[in-house]
């Protein structure tokens, strides 16, 4: 029972984890990308379509990476080069992602595509409890196990990570020592978009195994909150995502057990929880202590005079 819940938490938390990781990279460079929901939808559809055509789920992931990269390139151009308001541009990206995926997805409703299925890792999968919870998943989950510590090490322990953090903290300083603020921001907004899109693809290629219009159901927005919750730290992002995944799957479980609570009410749970958690961690003092990037949402321009 507990085993199954934990296992389901990881499964349900993985799409959130990819999106949260992606957004951590973007925000660490000082760009808030509120278009996660749109990026996930686009990634979910693209992944599904490519997998449907090529019968390869991995190529589907590649497709998701591509669409995520292209859409966030547009976003990067608007917010970094054109200095468009990041809040509003993110909303526009979400609308566009929802619209495009809804339009092109029409033809794929009810279709099937090649899926990711669980892989049992010898020895590890046999460990009691842990084996079932951690090592009976599909490859995308295993990939995220690797990505999380790697991202943490990259951000906090490498020179490139130092450059990334410097740009998000104090772009002018980074610029004066010869780090290109523009290049770094473009790079990580695009990388972040790609990871987010993979989070979407996880939904259509592993989690629900089909394409449904608006299938992300607000997960992109929850990920925006999870980034704050995780204090821009990939390791905490893992815990936060699995926690939310747990709540989401608990709701399914309660339903399955036939408890007499309306499914509509149970479905509110993750959204309500997001509000509660966001409220608990948002006080200004808290935010400073956990280290929000100082230059978040501030476009950089060398020649702007004070």
């Amino acid at each position: 029972m507990l085993e199954a819940i934990f296992m389901a938490a990881i499964r349900a938390g993985t799409p959130l984890l990819y999106a949260t990781l992606g957004e951590i990279f973007a925000e660490r460079s000082g760009v808030l990308n509120l278009g996660l929901e749109g990026l996930m939808l686009a990634g979910a559809l693209m992944g599904f379509v490519v997998s449907h055509i090529t019968s390869s789920a991995w190529l589907g992931v590649l497709g998701a990476l591509l669409i995520g990269g292209v859409l966030s390139l547009v976003y990067a151009f608007l917010t970094i080069t054109m200095r468009v308001n990041q809040v509003v541009a993110g909303l526009a990206l979400t609308m566009l992602g929802a619209g495009l995926s809804g339009y092109y997805g029409q033809a794929f409703i009810g279709k099937t595509a090649s899926q990711f299925s669980p892989i049992y890792i010898p020895f590890f999968s046999d460990i009691p409890f842990i084996g079932k919870v951690l090592f009976s998943h599909d490859p995308l989950v295993y990939l995220s196990y690797v990505l999380v510590p790697l991202s943490w090490f990259y951000i906090f322990k490498t020179r490139w990570g130092m450059n990334l953090r410097a740009v998000g903290e104090d772009p002018k300083t980074a610029d004066t020592v010869g780090i290109s603020v523009f290049k770094i921001r473009y790079l990580y907004v695009i990388l972040g978009g790609m990871l987010t899109a993979v989070g979407g693809a996880y939904l259509s290629l592993a989690y629900t195994s089909m394409w449904i219009e608006n299938m992300t159901a607000g997960r992109g927005w929850i990920a925006v909150a999870l980034v704050i919750f995780s204090a821009w730290n990939p390791l905490r992002a893992l815990l936060a995502s699995y926690f939310f995944g747990g709540v989401a799957s608990l709701q399914l479980r309660i339903q399955a057990m036939g408890v007499a609570i309306s499914s509509h009410l149970l479905m509110m749970l993750p959204y309500a929880l997001t509000i509660v958690v966001l409220s608990l961690i948002s006080s200004e003092a808290m935010r400073k202590r956990i280290g929000a990037p100082t230059a978040l949402m501030k476009p950089y321009s060398r020649e702007e005079r004070e």
Binding site: A89, L91, M95, G99, L100, H264, M267, M268, Y271, S282
Partner: protein, 353 residues
């Protein structure tokens, strides 16, 4: 190094230049969208022709446009108020739902026997309060705990639609409705009088509300505080303004307007609560507010135009078999074009080597 974009802030911007850029953005969006349709193998030109003729020139189409214009513009006005204070109320959709739910509660369950001249104002007020209550949640959390209102209002949208579904699939379901997720039809006393076709008396409310909002923002002490806080909260604090109180009040009024729109919409058009009754008015209203550059009067024009696009897309759905989601693509494209247009208003952009 290659060619670079050079941004120079514009010192003065004339109203006519602003208008010119905004119209160009819309034109640009229409062009991009035409390209998209072309790529999908549709004849964009005839599609546009069909859309515009239907939405603005034919009686039935124009009725549809006016019917959509009412909720869109009222929610848009509410958002203008919040955006003026840089409060990102993205929850118009949920607040709209709350207004509609409150109206249903009054019309069907609490006071079905009241006379319409009592019931209708009562419902309007209840819708306003319900929408305001919903957005105040985000306002209070923002004011006292610093919770990001974008995420909170969005989460409240999901909760509101689920709540509404809970009701229309559950205890409020019309027993005579063949199992459809909707309530029974409202009593006659809770229906707005019709002017012609589907157009109801509520069509005047956006005009009145936009004038009121303009006066509020330009002429009153409170509107002045909202503008100062929106422009520079630090100086507002120095001047002794109460930012917490204003945050909550502004969010309340902003959501209240959306709730009001819900009440008018449900009494004027739907006459019942049903599953997914809004085609995303609350989200489209964000574009309305932004495209009108937070000018209450411009909101009327912009929402009328966008309602027409909405209705036009509906007819395309019938004639050209385009899925309704094209409207969201168009909205996304339009939104992007408007944002880029704004950059041209704020900066003089030139290419330098």
């Amino acid at each position: 190094m290659g060619i670079k974009l050079k941004f120079e802030p514009r010192v003065r911007v004339s109203k006519s230049f602003e208008l010119f850029v905004m119209l160009s953005s819309i034109l640009m969006a229409l062009l991009v969208f035409a390209m998209f349709m072309f790529l999908s193998g549709k004849d964009a030109l005839s599609a546009y022709k069909t859309m515009f003729l239907w939405a603005f020139m034919r009686k039935v189409g124009l009725e549809g446009t006016l019917v959509k214009f009412v909720p869109l513009s009222i929610i848009g006005l509410g958002l203008v108020l919040a955006f003026k204070m840089k409060l990102w109320n993205i929850g118009g959709e949920g607040q709209f739902y709350l207004g509609a739910m409150a109206s249903t509660l009054l019309a069907l369950f609490l006071f079905p026997n009241l006379d319409s001249f009592v019931l209708i104002p009562l419902i309007v007020f209840a819708g306003f309060l319900a929408g305001g209550f919903w957005s105040s949640i985000a306002g209070v959390l923002r004011a006292y705990l610093g919770a990001d209102e974008i995420v909170v209002t969005l989460m409240l949208n999901y909760i509101a639609t689920l709540w509404s579904d809970y009701l229309v699939y559950g205890s409020w379901k019309d027993p005579a409705g063949f199992g459809f997720p909707m309530t029974a039809i409202f009593p006659e006393s809770a229906k707005l009088p019709v002017l012609w076709g589907k157009v109801h008396v509520g069509v005047f409310s956006p005009i009145i509300l936009s004038l009121l909002l303009k006066i509020l923002l330009d002429r009153t002490k409170w509107g002045y505080e909202i503008r100062v806080i929106g422009d520079n909260p630090d100086v507002a604090l120095c001047a002794g303004m109460n930012i917490k109180k204003n945050t909550i009040l502004t969010m309340f009024l902003s959501g209240g307007m959306a709730g009001l729109a819900g009440a008018i919409y449900i009494m004027g058009v739907q006459h019942r609560l049903q599953h997914a009754f809004s085609p995303g008015y609350g989200y489209t209203a964000i574009i309305v507010a932004w495209l009108s550059r937070l000018n209450p009067i411009a909101v009327l024009l912009v929402s009328f135009f966008l309602s027409g696009i909405f209705v036009g897309c509906e007819i395309l759905q019938v004639i050209m078999k385009l899925p309704i989601s094209v409207i969201y693509i168009f909205q996304g494209v339009l939104f992007f074009c408007v944002l880029v247009g704004e950059v041209f208003i704020r900066y003089k952009i030139s290419l330098v080597r």
